[in-house]
């Protein structure tokens, strides 16, 4: 993965959101979620994700982190409460209205969710093609993105032939290729070594500097402490530990050079 990425991808606006900026990317208002007739896995969530911020979502296993992320990337509807994304109330929006919003969100899944029979190139290109980009418009950005995540020579490889770390990077490249306004990552460093984890976090930070709101669910405290300025959202038993959602991760002092 290369350090500072100065390619065309970094300078072009996101595909579907140029010119639209709202103060809060996401607003949760008394949100609850239950699966089927079971108990609520999320309760009374009230928080806002400010545009351009970096958030870590933490909490013990089973606290509801993945469920919260599913609400964020519109894979799930809340059973109560209201969710606004990009300024639009989407809790009860018709399902046919959701795809344009999903295209503004990049998701890195814990299990990568790569399509096995597609090459790394095609997997990364998928969001662009779904958004209607032509083959000519896809080629450059995808090659550039694969080079950035250090997989330029693995473009034609299929996921089963890639290592866990490589698959993770393909998944991340796919999540960010569209310059999403909101990037959601579920344990993105769970399958990579410490060095790769730092490099991935460097990518997320770079995305954040370009204006993308980033939400990373993780158990890894070292990641949190290594990301100055990031805010913390902590879930326990389906509720926010700090209901205001404003718990700050104390920024570490910048490392002294050398």
């Amino acid at each position: 993965m290369h350090g500072a990425w100065q390619g065309a991808w970094a300078t072009r606006p996101p595909l579907e959101s140029a010119g639209r900026q709202v103060a809060a990317v996401a607003e949760f208002d008394s949100v609850g979620l239950r699966y089927g007739t079971g108990a609520e896995v999320l309760r009374d969530l009230d928080f806002r994700l400010r545009t351009g911020s970096f958030y870590f979502l933490t909490g013990p296993s089973g606290a509801g982190k993945t469920s919260l992320l599913k609400l964020l990337y519109l894979a799930q509807r809340p059973t109560r409460g209201r969710i606004k994304l990009f300024g639009e109330e989407l809790s009860e929006a018709p399902r046919e209205d959701l795809p344009p919003f999903r295209r503004r969100i990049g998701v890195v899944f814990q299990d990568f969710r790569l399509i096995r029979h597609l090459s790394a190139f095609d997997n990364v290109a998928l969001p662009l093609r779904i958004a209607g980009a032509s083959d000519e418009d896809v080629e450059g950005p995808v090659r550039e993105m694969l080079a950035w995540v250090g997989l330029a020579d693995r473009a034609s490889a299929r996921p089963p032939t890639l290592s866990g770390g490589e698959q993770q990077r393909v998944a991340i490249a796919r999540a960010v290729i569209n310059r999403p306004e909101l990037l959601v990552a579920d344990e993105p460093t769970g399958n990579v070594d410490a060095d790769m984890a730092n490099r991935l976090m460097g990518l997320f930070t770079a995305m954040n500097r370009l204006g993308t709101t980033v939400v990373v669910a993780t158990h890894d405290v070292s990641l949190i402490s290594a990301t100055p300025g990031a805010q913390l959202i902590r879930l326990e038993n389906g509720t926010l530990v700090d209901p205001t959602g404003t718990l700050k991760n104390p920024p570490r002092p910048p490392r002294s050079a050398g």
Binding site: Y73, L74, A75, Q76, R77, R95, E96, L98, P99, P100, F101, R102, R103, V107, R113, L114, I115, H117, L118, D122, A125, L126, P127, R129, I130, A131, D135, V138, R174
Partner: protein, 289 residues
């Protein structure tokens, strides 16, 4: 609008190399074959019914009880009626000779009342009443019978068979549609993961549906054309066999419109299968967020 018919190579790769429904083209081929044969039979029946109906529409018979001793006078009366043509008399003797085939010597018995007949065409049916009155003045009891009345039960049966054929075509089309629905559901299950990923990335239902729609269109087109070609071969064999045997010649044939209908049937079946698959896929996708 029809972009989905010509997807890019990348779009084609989305469903992998797996076939849409495995046996789907075969099922559709069998249905297409059956539909073509039944439809051809139905159309031939319709043609036969039309032929019979048109040939007897203006044909009548003057029945003369008691043998018609004054048959020549009656024939002259019929011929003198305006609009009457093709007058042919069947004498009592001829009738008895005909009956002899079934009745044997009893056909010659004087106790067997055998009428004489005068067949004729009448362009204007309104003159038949006066013709009958004049005939009765020559031979009391003479009466005119319209051939269409005699043949009505046969025509009714032919029309009924046409509807049966039409019903069978609909039934087979419904069966083909059901097979397509099952194949579409199977394909959705096979590719559920890909669909979920695409939805998550922002694909619309239509974008997902188009991938499957094209697959079923190709499968249905191949199946229905193969079935139609096999049916055409069978029909040609039947037609040539009938011609060799001297049957059906001059009888029922399939006209240009019938052939056009038969040619359009495989295409209609393909479009039906594609529409059904599209609807099934869209319905299934709506169950997910």
């Amino acid at each position: 609008m029809l972009d989905w018919l010509f997807p890019s190579p990348a779009d084609r790769r989305l469903l992998g190399t797996a076939k849409f429904g495995g046996p789907t083209p075969w099922v559709i081929a069998i249905m297409s074959f059956s539909i073509m044969l039944i439809a051809a039979s139905g159309l031939a029946l319709a043609s036969t019914a039309a032929l019979v109906s048109s040939s007897i529409e203006t044909r009548y018979t003057l029945q003369v009880p008691g043998g018609g001793a004054n048959l020549a006078q009656l024939v002259a009366t019929v011929r003198s009626t305006p609009g009457v043509s093709s007058v042919r008399a069947v004498s009592e003797i001829d009738m008895r000779q005909t009956l002899e085939r079934w009745l044997g010597p009893a056909a010659e018995s004087a106790e067997l009342p055998v009428p004489a007949l005068i067949d004729f065409d009448a362009a204007d049916a309104s003159r038949l009443a006066s013709l009958q009155r004049r005939a009765q003045s020559i031979a009391p009891g003479a009466s005119i019978v319209a051939h269409r009345d005699s043949v009505r039960p046969l025509l009714h049966s032919l029309h009924l068979l046409q509807w049966v054929a039409f019903g069978l075509v609909l039934l087979l089309s419904a069966a083909a549609s059901a097979a397509v629905v099952l194949a579409a559901r199977g394909a959705l299950d096979t590719h559920r993961f890909t669909i979920e990923v695409m939805h998550g990335i922002g694909a619309t239902d239509l974008q997902v549906t188009h991938m499957f729609q094209r697959k079923i269109l190709i499968d249905a087109l191949i199946g229905s054309l193969a079935g139609a070609l096999a049916a055409a071969a069978v029909l040609l064999l039947l037609a040539s066999g009938a011609a060799l045997a001297g049957e059906l010649t001059g009888g029922a044939t399939l006209g240009p419109i019938d052939l056009l209908i038969l040619a359009l049937l495989p295409l209609a079946l393909t479009l039906l299968a594609t529409w059904v698959a599209r609807t099934a896929v869209l319905r299934s996708l709506r169950k997910a967020l």
